[in-house]
């Protein structure tokens, strides 16, 4: 099913196993009925953690309570209001009684198990220890800091919803639920990361998504073993079918509307806590060329824009190689007037065309990278350096020829017409081998490269769906959602995977 190419992985897995053995022992440990002993257990577990707070409360001089929590993870106000205040005024003597009293404080758990309590503490619960009882109660009063909902910066639209996912998982789920008010929307939690204990949610529409797809996603996620998950990119690398492909096989988006549209098509969304990027599987080649806005603007325009993208993705890969191949191998293909003006512009240039193109390409990539990493205030400096110094001065100095600058600029523009960032990154990488092939073998090399890319793309699979479908294998009925964007009333949006569609129809009839 999945191929992990690196040998290092096995070693890594072994380390994880050792660690988990130790954790296994901790799991079995239980609290005693002695409150001092219990306090000691917690203190030992959280040794050198200065942010752990203890508050001892004595009510009526005989009930001794100890509240333990991690500073900053909980909301102090809630602690005072919903925990300490009821405690002081209560007549309860046991946890069971106390639970009833504190019911308005949200989620409460009771457990003897040390590791449960420890995990709850780390999730922003306050633990309440009571003298003479081994049952320890935890109350959820977490108060972490959340970012407000902003427009996603990686996928801007002119028309369409402006909300984007944020780093908080529950907010993200609520954003999806807000758009799909049906119990068919399932959300399954799992936890990944031995140390980070990151919550992951698998979300799909029951009856729309293919059951085997959901099982496959679940199985792949379950097999992941790693220390920490900082972004969904970590997960993506584990679950993709072909880790050595330049093309992303899992779709990542920051937009809830995109995620919902994909769920409606029978795909599975993987939400990861602490990152706004939601993974969607399976992904096809064409998904990389579709923007959410395609479905919000009128269809003739959307179709036109789609074709512009098809045209420019080819430019992005083939424009510089074609220029290099034709000017160094096939000069007879250029119209006479053009060949003379290209020859004139190359008259003073000391490098071969391929080196020239590579040089400019690499400078362009550096400019682009610098533009992303630079503090925003300095962005202008980059455009001045890039545009003026390289564009004009280098041409005037005769270091590079003007046609190459034009070609690379066109390529640069083409790159930005690809709506999916990860997809355009893949395309970006393909340009360099293509350039090399063109510079050494001419059009023959380009054809070889093209064939190579096509072979790879058509054999690539993402969670069982062929990456290039519905073009290869050709499914005429589904082209209307790919090559053109038909009016929404003329079609019902469904999956690129026909089996899931049939499945859904069956499931829906079975459900009702």
């Amino acid at each position: 099913m999945r191929r992990f190419g690196s040998g290092n992985f096995n070693e890594y897995e072994r380390n994880i196993k050792l660690k988990s053995n130790k954790l296994e022992e901790d799991h079995k440990k239980e609290f005693t009925s002695d409150i001092e002993q219990n306090e000691k257990i917690i203190k030992e577990t959280f040794q050198d953690c200065s942010d752990l707070e203890y508050r001892q409360i004595e009510v009526n001089h005989h009930i001794k309570w100890l509240i333990v929590y991690i500073d900053n993870l909980i909301d102090e106000k809630m602690l005072d209001e919903y925990v300490i205040k009821p405690m002081i005024t209560t007549r309860a003597k046991t946890e069971g009684d106390l639970k009833d009293e504190l019911i308005f404080a949200g989620t409460t758990n009771i457990s003897k198990n040390v590791s449960d309590i420890v995990r709850n503490l780390l999730e922003g619960y306050a633990a309440i220890l009571i003298a003479g009882s081994s049952d320890i109660m935890t109350v959820a009063i977490s108060g972490s800091v959340k970012r407000s909902l902003n427009e996603p910066s990686s996928e801007p639209v002119v028309r369409g919803p402006r909300e984007g996912f944020i780093e908080d998982l529950s907010t993200n789920i609520s954003l999806i639920r807000g758009r799909l008010k049906t119990p068919k929307l399932k959300v399954e939690y799992i936890t990944l990361g031995e140390l980070s204990q990151t919550r992951i949610a698998i979300s799909y529409l029951k009856g729309v998504a293919n059951n085997s797809l959901v099982d496959e996603v679940r199985a792949r996620l379950d097999s992941i073993k790693l220390d920490g998950v900082l972004d969904s990119g970590y997960i993506e690398e584990f679950i993709e079918d072909q880790p050595f492909s330049p093309f992303p096989q899992v779709h990542s988006t920051e937009r809830p509307d995109v995620a919902v549209a994909e769920l409606l098509e029978g795909k599975v969304a993987i939400l990861v806590d602490t990152t706004p990027f939601v993974l969607i599987a399976p992904m096809t080649f064409w998904a990389g060329l579709q923007a959410s806005e395609d479905y919000y603007i009128r269809w003739p325009v959307a179709t036109f824009i789609r074709w512009i993208r098809f045209l420019f993705i080819n430019f992005a890969i083939y424009a510089p190689p074609l220029y290099v191949a034709i000017t160094t191998f096939h000069q007879e293909m250029i119209p006479t007037d053009l060949v003379l003006s290209i020859a004139a512009s190359r008259e003073a240039v000391p490098f071969p065309a391929m080196i020239e193109a590579l040089l400019i390409e690499i400078i362009f990539e550096a400019l682009r990278e610098a533009g992303i990493r630079l503090p925003k205030q300095m962005g202008q400096a980059i455009s001045i350096v890039g545009g003026l110094v390289i564009g004009q001065a280098a041409v005037q100095a005769g270091l590079i020829s003007a046609p190459v600058v034009i070609i690379v600029s066109i390529t640069g523009i083409s790159m930005f017409t690809i709506p999916r960032y990860s997809f355009s990154n893949g395309i970006r990488l393909l340009r360099f081998p293509m350039l090399f092939l063109a510079g050494t073998m001419g059009l023959y090399g380009i054809v070889l490269g093209f064939l190579g890319i096509m072979l790879h793309v058509t054999s690539l699979r993402s969670f069982g769906t062929l990456y290039f479908s519905p073009i290869a294998p050709l499914k005429l009925s589904e082209l209307k959602n790919v090559l053109i964007r038909l009016p929404i009333w003329m079609k019902f949006r469904h999956s690129n995977n026909p089996s899931s569609r049939e499945d859904r129809l069956e499931d829906l009839s079975g459900d009702t």
Binding site: T327, L340, M441
Partner: protein
């Protein structure tokens, strides 16, 4: 093992092709070739080579000096000449962009079979190159001329050929015609313009066509005869015919659409051809006092034009039939298509039988309009005849 196999495969892919990378600025773009006959009977070959010079700010209009230069070499055969020419150039001579090959009238009369052979071998010598006869002069002189519209003067010749008003023959056409039965090749002709006295500002103009037989130029057709040739061979895209009217004055017509049909009839031993020419167009000139609003007058004009056209075509036919005695139109080919048995009989003696063939011409013109003004702008002064 797998990587090893992959590497072998990769090497097969990379190392098999021939490494023919040439930078564009290491090439000398030849735009035209001229072939002349030198005094001692050798072939003098001249190449016009473009100088790629930057056209900053896009001010290409107004040809700058020295946008091209000429290299010449003399030799017995094409290969020897090529070698000599390459020795004079620091860059590799690149012939794919050559648009025209000029052959001087002198050399053409001498025979061009040896000259043309070299163009048939190397694929870089394009068969779409135009071939032209230089009427009464040397090809070299045409190459030297500057043309105001174009950086490289010979590109203008290409543009003139493409416009389709004159006989445009490419190497390919020439070879095909030569290889075909029952037709002999013709080649367009060019001459230095006789009106431009200043030698520095000399330009050229097209001057009819040359009639070939067995790689030898037999003679030249003038412009009117060339129109006849184009029409009869169905190559006429646009043309102008003028006729004198019986009552004085002249009318001119622009042909926009033409058609022709050759009908063969054979009675026993004799072959008879009827050429039916169709033409559509509009009046371009009317210096007579006829009011063309009247349909009758239009008929007068029409028949006058038809007569003129017929005469023009007949003049041409007489010239090739009686004077040069060569079937440049391809009547033999028509016969072959319509009556293969007859052709099989006549095939070997066609060259001697063609001058005796009976050819009649029928012209049918359709006047579609008279342009912006109907009769003549001088209508008020002239007494219009109704």
């Amino acid at each position: 093992m797998r990587t090893f196999k992959c590497m072998i495969l990769l090497m097969l892919v990379i190392l098999c092709g021939c490494w023919d990378r040439t930078e564009i600025n290491d090439l000398a773009f030849v735009t035209a070739t001229a072939m002349d006959l030198s005094d001692d009977g050798n072939i003098l070959c001249s190449l016009q080579v473009a100088i790629p010079s930057s056209t900053e700010g896009g001010n290409r209009g107004g040809a700058k000096d020295n946008q091209f230069f000429i290299i010449s070499a003399e030799g017995k055969d094409g290969n020897e000449i090529h070698r000599k020419l390459q020795k004079k150039s620091s860059r590799i001579l690149f012939f794919s962009h050559r648009s025209v090959i000029f052959i001087s009238e002198h050399l053409a009369r001498h025979g061009i079979d040896d000259v043309l052979d070299i163009f048939t071998h190397d694929p870089k010598y394009r068969l779409k190159t135009y071939i032209m006869i230089v009427k009464g002069g040397d090809g070299r002189d045409i190459l030297k001329m500057k043309y105001p519209f174009k950086q490289v003067s010979i590109e203008a010749v290409k543009e003139m050929e493409i416009s389709g008003q004159d006989l445009a023959v490419t190497l390919r056409d020439f070879y095909i015609t030569y290889a075909s039965e029952g037709v002999h090749p013709v080649i367009g002709a060019i001459e230095p313009d006789s009106y431009s006295k200043d030698s520095d500002k000399e330009i050229y103009n097209f001057a009819g066509a040359g009639v070939f037989k067995d790689f030898k130029l037999l003679g030249l057709l003038n412009e009117k005869e060339t129109l006849g040739l184009l029409w009869v061979t169905n190559q006429l895209k646009t043309g102008r015919i003028t006729a004198k009217l019986p009552h004085g004055g002249e009318v001119g017509m622009v042909l926009n659409h033409t058609d022709r049909k050759i009908i063969t009839k054979n009675s026993n031993d004799f072959v008879h051809f009827t050429i039916q020419l169709e033409g559509q167009g509009s009046l371009a000139e009317n210096t007579s006092s006829l009011d063309i609003n009247e349909p009758e007058n239009l008929n007068v004009i029409k028949s006058a034009l038809e007569g003129a056209a017929k005469k023009q075509v007949q003049d041409f036919l007489i010239k090739i039939q009686k004077k040069y005695q060569v079937d440049s139109v391809g009547f033999g080919q028509e016969l072959y298509k319509n009556n293969p048995e007859k052709w099989a009989v006549l095939k070997n003696q066609w060259d001697s039988r063609f001058p005796e063939a009976d050819i009649s011409v029928e012209v049918n013109l359709t006047i579609k309009g008279a342009g912006m003004i109907h009769s003549s702008f001088d209508m008020q002064n002239k007494e219009m005849r109704k």
